[in-house]
Subunit: 231 residues, 2 copies
């Protein structure tokens, strides 16, 4: 399975705050549940140069990159071109994509725009809409329409994921500073358990424990109790 | 005013899909309404090296970087340290921050953790909670708790923003391919108008026009009508 991934969502509408980025959260959750560690989630506009730079940045950081958005037929859909540019590949008519789309949508110029993919791409069929997705090098590219993206992600998710880490959430009626010492010590004693601390409004603190080894979570809880926390 | 900005939100809980990134959307909207073009929104975990790399990436891309999250007192709050590392500055006790916090919270070690900022930082007071924000070089750093972040952003927003672009949304009962030619031609004829096309579920298309010059939006609408669109 894949150990590390980044998620890139493309679209000016996400940068202006008009649309909340639910796609990134959805993919992050699915990958995380499958044991993949997400190192970066990023949104960039419909600009070839910006997308390409971000792809290069992610390639130095993670094993796999998941990209959504900008695969439609209009002038502002430039993701295919940007990925080709970023990977140093030509855009060419993909025969597999043509075989999927032309029988359904004809061979008009917009269909042919959708089937023009970076050379050597593996095609991901779109069971819900038109634009096919593709995989090239270590980049998985899916449309931005959530129903399409989700259906297509489900077709390929098994290739990337494995066992999920165990997660426990605790809520404590405490200010963060009251338990900071205990958390810090627990973090030192249990290096294989990730301990997150998220202050909520007022005297309420959420603690998140995660580990690939569920027994260790029990040990952390035992340690918390020993330190006087009611968990 | 500032022309380009990036927004970085820090926190493992955002990468696992447990929490939707509302802070980034909120800041993006406020900056966008003030005429600032957002080039990148990114989320990264509580890792000094990842945060530092992302800061360097953003510095090549935009004028100002807005960062939220990881300013609390616990072991996983490493944003102060990461920004110091990324900017090549020392972390030192900030006297202005001490003067704000010690009268309210005492001089315990957790208060002193909050007041340890990159050398030369300008302090942003936190009227809602404890952790102060700061500005260093071209980086604005705010807490991740939304109520704190929002109140503090309001204290400084005027420094960065100016006139907003005019925006119009249209909804057309069309598939995207039916109007793609018209949109593409309009985009060529009106280069100072940004035209976004967002397919919705079924036969419904949202079009977003934006420009610093409202007259040009009227001209685009006139062009659409001439081409037979009911707008």
């Amino acid at each position: 399975m894949v150990k590390t991934a980044a998620i890139i969502t493309i679209g000016d509408e996400l940068l202006s705050g008009d649309v909340v980025n639910t796609n990134a959260t959805w993919i992050a959750k699915r990958l995380y549940e499958g044991g993949v560690s997400i190192r970066l989630i990023a949104t960039v506009g419909d600009e070839i140069e910006d997308i390409s730079r971000l792809i290069h940045f992610c390639r130095d950081l993670v094993e796999w990159i998941f990209v959504t958005g900008g695969l439609g037929p209009t002038h502002d859909d430039i993701t295919r071109e940007a990925i080709a540019y970023a990977t140093g590949r030509k855009l060419t008519q993909n025969e597999e994509a043509q075989a999927l789309l032309i029988p359904r949508f004809g061979d008009g110029k917009y269909t042919l725009k959708l089937t023009e993919l970076p050379e050597g791409s593996e095609v991901i069929d779109n069971p819900v809409g038109a634009a096919p997705g593709f995989i090239v090098d270590n980049i998985v590219v899916l449309p931005g329409v959530p129903a399409e993206m989700e259906a297509m992600f489900d077709l390929i998710v098994d290739r990337f994921t494995g066992k999920a880490p165990d997660v426990r959430w605790l809520t404590l009626p405490k200010y963060e500073v009251e338990v900071a010492d205990i958390l810090s010590e627990a973090s030192r004693l249990f290096p294989d358990v990730k301990i997150g601390s998220y202050p909520q409004w007022g005297e309420k603190l959420k603690i998140r424990l995660s580990s690939m080894n569920p027994k260790r979570l029990d040990e952390v809880l035992e340690y918390f109790r020993k330190e006087g926390l009611d968990v």
